[in-house]
Symmetry: C2
Subunit: 386 residues, 2 copies
């Protein structure tokens, strides 16, 4: 059910001809209220797509009534004309829904540097607006897929406050910062919440989910996470509880993205412990997650722990090289910066791989998630636009 | 002729059984003087291999008489025992050559985290010491190959000061900072020069050659560039001229490494112009060079300039997104941050690809060199140690 699981939301997904494949490519999500509080988190890339620039403006007042999403084109690096296309999309959706364009957020995903076929897109929005339905969440999730092999959806219901639900959908296999392809996420809830609360919740939930995924270290121009509250349940949750619920949905979606990352055969959890600070643990985790040589080795089921140490050595984190420990799937292959247990004991046959790095410099820890680097990844990304 | 082109140097390369293939894997280079001035530049990785730690100590007094190099094992992350192995290698070579161990530098390359087979290595050093020859440069260059498909050598002779020669050999396809595999370089000259001059020369020459190559963004534990002067020509060059000559050799070797990078099909020059500072130009060049999505696209001969902009956007350089220009092989595919000339005009058939990024924010410029990301790269690096 994804974004329509909470009360107060309708959605639809249609095929508008933006994708050469003819698959669904336009989705609309509407918040019927009574509330229209909204917040978002966006890519930190300084080159931002037109829909990101537009949606940031829309959310400046903490309100949004609708989201229009399209796959089949990112509308990034398209100049003033591309921004005009996003504006026209919002105006068109607003007129169909009887609201203002300033209440319509827009998300796009696909190839950078190409104008959207506006005739197809606007016709698709018209059709989607006519098919909006309280059961349309799955169809909307379907329509935002690009190279995703499956639609990504998650739902959680509060156990302490019956009647409050959080739902979400996502596309991509990625991170808010680095992203494999463009990551778009829409989270909805029927909890009563104001925009300031939602802003805190979406930031914190993203921090511990999407921002801990680092699939290929590439930072997209379009990454967007939106959180909309309808208030249709009539009850509010303590902020901490709403954060926990939204975080659960975000972690679930992030794991689904990792499991479906382009060309991947491994989902790799890099846990850094014994760090002097959370920042140190994050820096080390990211350095390991972005090491192409290690990612190739893991694809080849090769417990090449030397590449982990070589990656740790590039960071500014507090550690001494001769105290580093590294375990792979429970086998401590590196002890005190030197060979430990026999690397032949490491079994890397399963999709899931756990790498543990102990910096022996403090008590902070972080887990960063990534994927392996495969010929499938190279193939998908060399053939993407051709 | 490589390192034996300048007078005052002998070298040898032998097969000692460190490589399973049985190919040459141990080289010795000796400086017969009269001078023994030497300087080096090393990896900035904080996890440094035993031979790097050893050689830094040797060069502390600006003197070295010999270099022992081995492929078939990096002797990195091997703890105090591994350092002892390097020490023993230097002692062994010193006794054979009738010099002190503190005059023998050591370089190793190969798999991290594995002890060297010392019996084979020492026997190889014995044999190499017995075969030292004024024509042995090519054999030494052959013995330091790992995944290199060809030996890398370069020689330049001064045009202004007859009789002064600079020679060099290298292994790897890489950079002093990021490296594809371990990069080892030995440069020799018969010019008269003191250690302080050599230190300046090797630093500056590396800065404009090896440090402008960024093949896969991975930073090795073993990267070493050594510069040895025998003074056998009896004449000295102005420092600027020696720097120019050594830089030419280093650029030549760097280009040979790029042309032979693991699995690569493209050599890509990323020139950043209009930068507010050299640091900005470097940051932007490196960000573009490390973007896996772009590197995959170029492998697929796809002029996906959007991925260039997405990479530029991750930097802190001075620029405005809506003034960026990008050309690929002479076609300005992106103008003012938006689509420019038809991307179908870009011909990416040749190995060499030129990307020009204009930040329109100043007058500094830098060229960074990289390679494409291919299934061949994935294959070589997933099968490396298994």
């Amino acid at each position: 059910m994804s974004v329509t699981a909470p009360r107060g939301f309708r959605a639809a997904g249609v095929a508008a001809g933006l994708k050469p494949s003819g698959n669904p490519d336009v989705a609309v999500v509407v918040n019927d209220g009574p509330l229209d509080a909204a917040a978002g988190v966006f890519t930190r890339n300084r080159v931002q797509a037109a829909p990101v620039l537009w949606t940031r403006q829309v959310l400046a007042d903490g309100r949004a009534r609708a989201v229009v999403l399209n796959s089949g084109g990112a509308n990034a690096c398209t100049g003033p004309a591309g921004f005009g296309d996003t504006h026209a999309t919002a105006e068109h959706a607003a007129s169909l829904l009887g609201i203002g364009a300033g209440e319509v957020t827009v998300c796009s995903t696909g190839l950078i540097g190409v104008r959207l076929p506006m005739e197809n897109l606007l016709a698709g929005v018209t059709r989607a607006a006519g098919e909006l339905d309280g059961d349309g969440g799955a169809r909307a999730a379907e329509a935002i897929r690009t190279t995703d092999t499956v639609a990504k959806m998650a739902v959680r219901t509060s156990t302490t406050t019956p009647g409050v639900t959080v739902g979400g959908m996502a596309k991509g296999a990625a991170m808010l910062a680095p992203s494999l392809a463009t990551m778009l996420v829409v989270i909805t809830t029927d909890a009563v919440a104001d925009a300031a609360t939602l802003a805190d919740v979406v930031r914190e939930a993203s921090r511990v989910s999407f921002e801990r995924v680092d699939s290929d270290g590439c930072l997209s121009t379009n990454d967007t996470v939106l959180l909309l509250a309808s208030g249709a349940s009539g009850v509010s949750l303590p902020a901490g509880e709403l954060t926990a619920l939204v975080s659960e949905v975000c972690v679930d979606l992030a794991q689904q993205m990792l499991g479906d990352a382009e060309g991947s055969t491994k989902t790799i959890a890099i846990t850094v412990v014994g760090a002097a600070s959370e920042a140190d643990a994050l820096e080390v985790g990211r350095a390991v997650a972005r090491n192409n040589l290690l990612k190739c080795a893991l694809y080849g089921k090769d417990p090449n722990w030397g590449r982990v140490l070589a990656a740790v050595g590039t960071t500014t984190a507090v550690f001494e090289p001769d105290t580093l420990d590294v375990s792979m799937n429970g086998v401590q292959v590196c002890r005190a910066g030197a060979p430990g247990d026999d690397r032949d004991l490491v079994d890397l046959a399963d999709r899931r791989i756990d790498i543990l790095v102990d910096l022996h410099s403090g008590t902070d820890e972080v887990t960063i998630w990534t994927n392996d680097l495969t010929d499938g990844y190279v193939y998908e990304n060399s053939a993407y636009s051709t």
